[in-house]
């Protein structure tokens, strides 16, 4: 059974959520398709079911001259990198990979695709070349000037479409793959000229997951976030993620993740400011690897450091977190509803930095029966989660960290008193007594505020261990 999961369905049912509202929604409407597809970070195909997943679908609208002028090889490099980052093991989890390229009606598209088809056919012994539906029939007689280069004819006022191989992997499931599809496609994409890029209408990559399999892919994460960054004329994002393969799982880890699934266990988390989707995904997988369980990461969207800081001081500290808090409340309430008959089932929630403010605001608006389900672990929190707000709370911060002083600043600014400490300041000071600062790990960087800082690793892992022990009882 094949089920087509649209991005919206996927967003609501899977592990990665974007905030539903966006102050720049109008401006970035054209990149919503990218963003939606970028939610597919960790995909899980339930048992007895196949999921057809569109990994990436890139539309022409964004291929503006501006983007290509600033970065001529942008498309090729980015998409090539992303595809290259798939592990070979991931391919084993796919029953079908289909790459569909839509060329522009205006001009021919030159791509050296044939080479890869032959290589794939040679290397995947169980797949005969007959399985390749390379090109639609009207392309059969197209002029192929070079055996290594395919020149697609074009028809005016019609979009040229062809499918670069639709490969059935089902037959090969029993034996290990030796092909490196990713490498070949990376080569092909990189070999596209800038002119070709301009003529490209869309590239659509679909993968059909085998039942009960999980796909970990950083497929278009950087692409979309970088595209968004360029769209907003922001500086290029950190390139560290390109080199960081920590968000890819090994097959062993995939097995562990899928075999240890326990529906009674629910782990949620939310990130802090200035965190890209790719970074959030990295955090998510970091916890997921430690837990061996799904982590429902509610992505607290970033609009850049400055806007995020403004949001923190003018909204969040004052109790307003409309999107993220709503999303958190929804997830917690759903868990509560699922476990109405069992009040002992609890969920574990990690929050980092600004995420702690959202968590605080979400808890404040939750009924007590839902709050009593939540165990909060606040890492480098921008706001302390009091232990009386939820079932259990634990706050950890490093001595080098300065972020936790933020709430004092807000208390002093918005609710100052000329005769002494204001009521709000007193509340803050009292809550802060729950925060005991930790000596930074020698490998900790900068102000030791990172979620994945070695300072917090043992704490995060131990809390997970305790929670899982409790959940598996």
């Amino acid at each position: 059974m094949t089920q087509d999961l649209s991005p919206s369905t996927f967003a609501s049912s899977k592990h990665f959520c974007l905030e539903p509202e966006d102050p720049f929604a109008k401006d970035i409407a054209s990149i919503n398709a990218f963003r939606n597809s970028s939610q597919q970070l960790q995909l899980y195909a339930p048992p007895q079911q196949q999921n057809k997943i569109v990994i990436g679908q890139y539309e022409q609208a964004l291929f503006t001259d501006k983007i290509f002028k600033t970065s001529p090889s942008f498309w090729g490099i980015e998409s090539g990198l992303d595809i290259d980052r798939r592990t070979e093991e991931n391919l084993q989890n796919c029953s079908t990979v289909k790459v569909e390229i839509l060329a522009s009606p205006r001009a021919p598209l030159r791509m050296s695709l044939e080479r890869s088809l032959h290589k794939i056919a040679r290397q995947a012994h169980s797949i005969s070349s007959a399985n390749f539906r390379t090109f639609p029939s009207h392309h059969r007689n197209s002029a192929v000037h070079d055996p290594q280069t395919l020149c697609l004819p074009y028809r005016r006022n019609a979009m040229t479409t062809f499918q670069v191989p639709s490969i059935e992997f089902a037959a090969a499931k029993a034996q290990p793959f030796t092909i490196r599809l990713s490498t070949h496609h990376q080569m092909e994409l990189r070999s596209m000229s800038e002119q070709n890029l301009r003529e490209l209408r869309a590239i659509k990559v679909e993968m059909i997951l085998s039942p009960n399999r999980e796909l970990f892919s950083g497929f278009d994460q950087d692409f979309t976030t970088r595209m968004a960054a360029k769209f907003f004329r922001k500086a290029p994002l950190s390139s560290t993620l390109q080199r960081d393969s920590s968000h890819l799982c090994t097959m062993e880890e995939v097995r562990r993740l899928t075999s240890g699934y326990n529906p009674k266990i629910f782990i949620s988390a939310t990130n802090g400011i200035n965190t890209t989707e790719a970074e959030a995904a990295s955090h998510q997988l970091y916890v997921q690897k430690l837990a061996g369980q799904k982590v429902n990461w509610v992505y607290n969207r970033s609009h850049g450091a400055i806007l995020d800081l403004m949001e923190v001081f003018t909204m969040n500290y004052l109790g307003l977190s409309p999107n993220t808090a709503k999303e958190l409340r929804g997830k917690w309430s759903a868990f509560h509803e699922r476990n109405l008959g069992n009040p002992n089932e609890k969920l574990l929630h990690y929050c980092h930095s600004q995420g702690a403010i959202h968590t605080f605001n979400a808890l404040r608006c939750c009924p007590s029966e839902v709050r009593d389900r939540v165990i909060v672990v606040a890492i480098a929190p921008a706001k302390i989660i009091p232990r009386e707000m939820c079932h259990q709370s634990f706050n950890y911060a490093s001595k080098k960290d300065i972020v936790h002083y933020g709430e004092l600043t807000t208390a002093g600014f918005f609710d100052s008193s000329e005769t002494g400490s204001s009521k709000y300041m007193e509340i803050m000071l009292n809550n802060r007594e729950q925060l005991i600062l930790l000596d930074p790990h020698p490998d900790a960087k900068n102000i030791d505020h990172g979620f994945q800082s070695p300072t917090f690793r043992d704490v995060i892992e131990r809390r997970l261990k305790k929670y899982l022990q409790r959940g598996n009882r």
């Binding site: 400055i306 634990f394 007594e433 729950q434 005991i436 600062l437």
Partner: protein, 195 residues
């Protein structure tokens, strides 16, 4: 310009909602719990060189559990860790039971070791990670003492030994002056004493 406009709009709305600042007020229970945990963490720091770095608890209704986490910059074995744990738990329990102001808020009085969570994370002297395979975390949670290492093969935490607080007391009596020992001995399982 857009940024400025956005800032002004947000500021306008946020100033209208400044009442929300006072929506949450920590109760006396919360304040007392904070006071005691801070006092105890300081005491443990001075007595055993345990460096406090985290606190927590379970106190939505009554105070059911209070938690403290520490760093200890020394490589020790289970014997030493056990001594640290039972002494720390004892001091924590004693501090709570001796403070009459908090008694009405406790889920049970006297507060017992099962209501205390102490976690001791071991690090080397330079604060770097303990070598995998050696004792990394010693914790007392829900009356169970647990000793964890980082498994060199999997790089994950792994419990190498578990014992109840009562068993630990038998193996390593509290060296600190204590009243808790009396409470524990009342509930102790005679079978454990026979072993």
């Amino acid at each position: 310009m857009k940024l400025l406009l956005y800032f002004l709009i947000i500021l306008t709305f946020s100033s209208c909602s400044s009442n929300s600042l006072s929506n949450y007020k920590p109760s006396e229970k919360e304040q007392l719990a904070n006071e005691i945990t801070n006092r105890v963490s300081l005491q443990l720091k001075n007595s055993f060189d345990l460096k406090p770095f985290g606190s927590g608890g379970q106190a939505m209704n009554d105070i059911e559990m209070l938690a403290l986490s520490f760093i200890y910059n020394k490589e020790i074995d289970i014997e030493d860790a056990r001594e640290l744990l039972i002494n720390s738990v004892d001091i924590f329990v004693k501090a709570i039971n001796e403070d009459e102001r908090i008694h009405p808020y406790l889920s049970n009085y006297p507060f017992e070791p099962k209501n205390i969570e102490i976690s001791i994370y071991l690090r080397k002297l330079d604060n770097s990670d303990i070598t995998p395979g050696k004792l990394l975390i010693a914790s007392s949670n829900n009356g169970i003492l647990e000793y964890d290492i980082r498994d060199p093969k999997t790089d994950r935490l792994k419990s190498i030994y578990r014992e109840s607080y009562e068993e630990a007391l038998i193996r390593k009596p509290i060296s600190w002056n204590s009243s808790t020992q009396k409470i524990i001995k009342k509930n102790i399982n005679p079978a454990i004493l026979d072993e």
